[in-house]
Amino acid sequence: MTQVTLEYYAQLREQAGRSREAVQTQSASLHDLYAELRARHGFTLDAQALKVAVNSQFSEWNRPLVDGDVVVFIPPVAGG
């Protein structure tokens, strides 16, 4: 199990009903993690519509997860 912290913004925050959460996950990569969270929170956005950052750096989706990672899935937003 890997312990990671998630931060949610915009549509993801709204759909998750929270701004951040700590999770224990068996997912090996960011891709798997998003799929897991999507199933849990009912996220409507596909992973390909999102950008992902780990520890304040943009990251590839196939990056393996490490204990203590802070993961942010960033949806594009358009309001102005």
Binding site: S19, T44, S56, F58, V72, I74, P76, V77, A78, G79
Partner: protein, 536 residues
Amino acid sequence: MKRFRMAAEAVELSVLRQPLEQSGAGGYCSFEGWVRDTNEGRPVDGLDYEAYNELALSEGERIIEEALARYEITDAAAVHRTGSLKIGDLAVWIGVSSAHRDAAFRACRYIIDEIKHRLPIWKKERYLEGDTAWVACMHTERAHLSEVSDAHDHAHDHGHAHHHHAEAHATPIEATRAPFVPDYSRQQRLRDIGPVGQAKLAASRVLVIGAGGLGCPVLSYLAGAGVGTLGIVDGDWVDASNLHRQTLYTAMDVGQRKVDAAARRISAVNPTLNVRTYAEPLHAGNAEAVFAEYDLIVECTDDMRSRYLTSDAAVLTGKPVVFASIYQYEGQLHIYTGQADAPCLRCLWPTMPDPATVGTCAEAGVLGPVPGVLGAMQAVEALKLLLDLPGARRDSLVLVDLLELSTRHIALPKGATCNHAGCAAAARQALNEARASESLELHFEHLHDALAAGYQLVDVREPAEVAAQPLSAASRQLPSGQIAEQACGFAPGRYLLVCASGRRSLHAAQTLRASGVEAYSLAGGVAALARPVLAG
């Protein structure tokens, strides 16, 4: 005889007073302004006054004539110094004689206030620490305007009884007021700006795309800062639902073009600006040419298509862009520096997301000050770029959460390029595609014209939107999210897709085109249709 003088040398008070000693005068009131030894807490060694003499003389004379017309006084005179003055020297003198003291006091106050407000005079303060600062003397508050109108005012005032009221006062004074001279002293005092930075701003040209919740603070602050040329792009009209967050507009502006109302407002803040307006959104055919005329772009729209167009045109013209967007209580700020290796919007999100998934203020809701905060941040970033102020100059994405009151700064990978053949190739391809899709957009004022032209209508809005504002002509209802899976169910024919703003319908039309359906999008959506005239 001239009653107002500018004096380059010290003046003798008894000489100034002598012409006022007239037999009808029962008294005399004077004001002397002296050079004091501190300004705003800083010890001052002395002053140099500079004036635009010709204008100062004619305006000074006019002020005294106004005082003679407004107050029951015998005579008045004034003098203002120029040149080098020491502590304690006389800088300005006003003298008024009259039959009764009240009029003399009032006229004296009127003259000094108007001199301080209207005369083109600057002072350079020499501080004891050795540095100096130029201070414009104009535009100080006029205390006499806040005087309460007084029942004991004499007969002469009745014909001009309005002169105590700022609003009514504006009419006679405004007509003769000297041209507005902006005063940037508060920002010029910043060590990194100074007169050199101010000159840079005056020579700068900034294009603000979108005059909504983000654009309003951007325009206000850039106008106030003295950015010499401001371009405003917006195709919208002011709506009452804008007023909670779009602070350039008032209830009086509802129904007017935003570019016109915004241009009027920022020109009122700073009449010295060159303001250019674009009343239609930019498109793939003109964006590069328009960008070429500016130094910096500030992207403030709520339209994904505009954001991608801005990114593509900026990549191809090498212009920096300050992007921001908001969602309910949050915002994103993205700085694109315009350098060859800077990551563009497509480096972050390679393809434009389906407009239905990204949320506009109308659909997702927004708290009024949220775009205010993000727009003010955009203005700061724009000034940082224009003035080359110290601080982070790297390309970055900042996530702002105003519920948590937190920001997360995400550094963009250095030298990031688009997945394909680099940003420029991706931008060129996207602009070519955008030009093609612009031909999918059709303009109709009335839906029955579209029906008459042989189009079948497809309403791609959500059921709740359709219920709230049904179309005035027969249409098939198919929410945009279901278009892709229903594409094979379209019989041959020409279809016109309709949504609220034209964004979802264009996206849906492109989706249908990919399946071989002859689909078009109603440009501007329902919002662009002629509004039915309501009875009564």
